[in-house]
Amino acid sequence: MSIVEDVEALRRIPYFATMDSAKLKLLAFTSTRVQLAQGGVLCREGEPGDAAYIVLEGEADIVVSAEDGRDVVVAHVPRNTFIGEMAVLRNAPRTATVVASSGLVALKVSKDAFFQLLRDQPAFAMELMRELAERLDDTTVQLRDARARLAALGA
């Protein structure tokens, strides 16, 4: 698998659709290609957040361990998505485990390379911010719904 193919795969991701091809090549070149079989663990809850991942092929589940020790799937990650960037941005341990739910190919972008990407590519940084804002908005909506439901239950 060469970086040429990685670049093509990256190009399909909305973040990178408009990015200059030399820059995309640089991103691919400075990243490591990771391949996982179904059930393989990409990164584990509690580990240091040393890299972000771009899912190029396959899908993954985001799993957190509940209080009773059972694993709960909290989200599903389709291909062409950026994941794990939160832990890198916060410089904190991972809050969830990512498990491949099918055969999976991802690009592992090291912390340094990720920050470099943010610095070099303001457009990418904006995209990422928008994405994070949307996630926050989703979470807020969910929280409101949950509160409402909780209040209804209490009533």
Partner: protein, 876 residues
Amino acid sequence: MERRLFTYIWRHSFGEQLAVLGVILASLPFYFLALNLPKLIVNGPIQGGGFEDGAARTYFQLALPDWLGGAIVLDGVDLDRMSALFALSFSFLALVCINGLFKYRINVMKGRMGERLLRRLRYELVDRVLRFYPARLKRSKPAEIASMVKDEVEPLGGFVGEAFATPAYLGGQALTAVTFIVLQNPLLGAIAVGIVSIQAFVIPYLRKPILALGRQRQLTARELSGRVGEIVDAAADIQANDTSNWERADITRRLGKIYDIRFEIYRRKFFVKFLNNFLAQVTPFFFYAVGGYFAIRGELSIGQLVAVIAAYKDLPGPIKELLDWYLEKQDAQIKYEQVVEQFRADRLIEPTAHAPGEPPPLKGEIEVREATVADDTGARLLDAVSFVVPTGRHVAFAGPPGGGKEAAAALIARQMAARSGTVTLGGQPLEALPQSITGRRIAYVGQDSYLFGLSLRDNLLYGLRNEPRKPRACDGRALSLAEARAAEDARAGNAPYDAEAEWLHYPALGIDGPDGLDAALMRLIALAGLEADVFRFGLQGGFDPDEAPAVAERLLAARRLFKEREMSSDHDVVEPFDEALYNDQATIGQNLLFGVAIGQTFAPQNLAQNRLVSQLLDDTGLDKPLFTLGRGIAETMVEIFRGLPAEHPFFAQYSFIAAADLPLYETLLARLEAGQKPTPDQRVKLLSLAFAYSEARHRLGLLDDSMRSMLLAARHLFHERLPQHERAKIAFYDADAYNEAASVEDNILFGRVVYGAPNAQARIEAILMEVIAELGLKDDIARIGLGFACGAAGKRLTPSQRQRVALARALVKDPDLLVVNGALAVLDAATQSEIMKRVLAARTGRGVVWTLAPGQDGALFDTVVTFEGGRLAAGA
């Protein structure tokens, strides 16, 4: 040390000096005879003087002088003219030999004397350094001291042999020659004496400024070496401060000054030389003119004139050398004074304090009474403090940083001296105790302990090498050689200790010989929390499999087990080395060599220029595709890195090409684009890129299967072709042999970590630990780890490792009292406390003094003494 060089020389070598003088004295009559013979030959057989009547003359008659009665001792022989010529000529030859042998003998004696004295002087200087109180050395730069001991005293060694012998020998010769000339003709004698006197008075006068300049030269050169030493030590800080230009300017200024001095010396020196030569050559003018005049008038025989000229020819030599001697003497005296001055100290440690001898165990208590301790600036660290430390208990010194606990710990370990007040151990003043007690029964660990450029093991054992414990095992010839060596050492006043003897004091470690040494060290290393580090060193270290074949065998077993375990896990994390397969995780160069380069010949950066390798590429048709591959790499690199600023970290982390070289490759590529041929240098550049390429890592899609099989074929051809003498320069990968050029870890892995395998490092580590534990290899690896070379001043260790090694080194001594004074300061508080707990538990019933870091708990100690503002706060 003696203030005057001559006193020093005479005191330490008068016996030998007298012997040389005796030999010189014995040589002078032969010298006179050798001067006289030419006259006899010319006047006698050659000119026929005394043979006028064809009769024979009596030669070799030895008569007592008239004032002794004139009795004839040897009758001599009667010789005719021809026999006389040959007899005299052969006598001359014999005298030449005798004089030459005398000279040789004298020189050997002088040389030996000089070397002995130089050896003594150097030893005494180093001995003084060892006897300085450490505070005294703070004033000196190490490089300056080293340059004095090594370079500055060196010429003194040469002078020692000359000190008395030369004036005697040359003076005697000159006097003989002058006497001879005066005897032949008083007037010529007077001329010779006159010119010699001018030389003797004028030239030293002219030389005086040269001596003063020489002194300056010595000082500036010494300062230069001090500065160079500083630059080396401060290399990292200079780069960190961007002050390299400042250093350049300083060195330039110093070199300029040295240049001025040296050039001035040369100018003056050559003028003196010119004058000297002129005076020497003007004398024969007088001899030809005046001597010739007398010869023509018949007042001087031709033989006499020839002999006078011959004698005078010999004269400038001795005179000049005498002058040189005089100057050398001045110079040596100055050098000596300057060096001795630098090694002067008001107070030296008494030699008796260093006397060997096993000290008795510490008894009683250390009592500090009204002690005041101040630092260099005079600030009081302890102010009239009294306290008692029992030597067998655990005592903590607490208080705020700088409050006095540090000074108190240094004081009781004799690392600092009290300005006033007393410190006693068992009732005796601590100051007066021999170092064998304070250095062996007490172990002190301060904040910056020095580690030597030795292996970790030798650094740990440093404190056990106090005195020779067992003479070296040798007999017969080796023994007599060793004895002769020891006798020569003693003649030069050197130390009476044999460095080859067994110095290690094993009982301190609870063992009686080398067996179990490493195990004992590892126990103490564990106390200091260094176990994991040493284990790491072992994994990353190497060893010579020929020296420990059993270990190599065990590591090979580990290699097999590792492979088994790694294969049985669901993912490949290591791509093993296989002679028959191309390893995608390794670079093209590594695949070609299929081994680890030893030395520079086949080192990765030199591979493309290696003659054998380029020949191989030509013959296998790989040169074109590899060149194209290198070009492909260069194109991609130029494309993706072009826009980045030069200081961008990606260059260092990822690029094949340094930022500064990028434009170079751009031009190179443009050149190729335009259809031009690359220069040989450019070829090498692109081939080097290709050699560093690994498909799995760099993923540029440049390597296909046909290239892989070509490279494999080239690998095999390379191995076939490699000439015998080059084979030692590569340690080839062999599944059944330990690779001596690779680390222990690489030997067990025997392959390359697969790029992109998730969590590869953690999984490898897990399997590795499993294998090591299962095969019981921990000790082997720890032993290799103990061989880790710490680097100059222990710089290959991190500060935290250095501090823990220093603590372990103190524990190795098994002291009666362990003083730990902020010795773990760079470690985090939790680790410090852990180590403290372990050390205290291991030293139950033995003395410990520990200065507590802020926040550290004194509950584990028998007593806590708290210092604040240089005084006691509570406790004691």
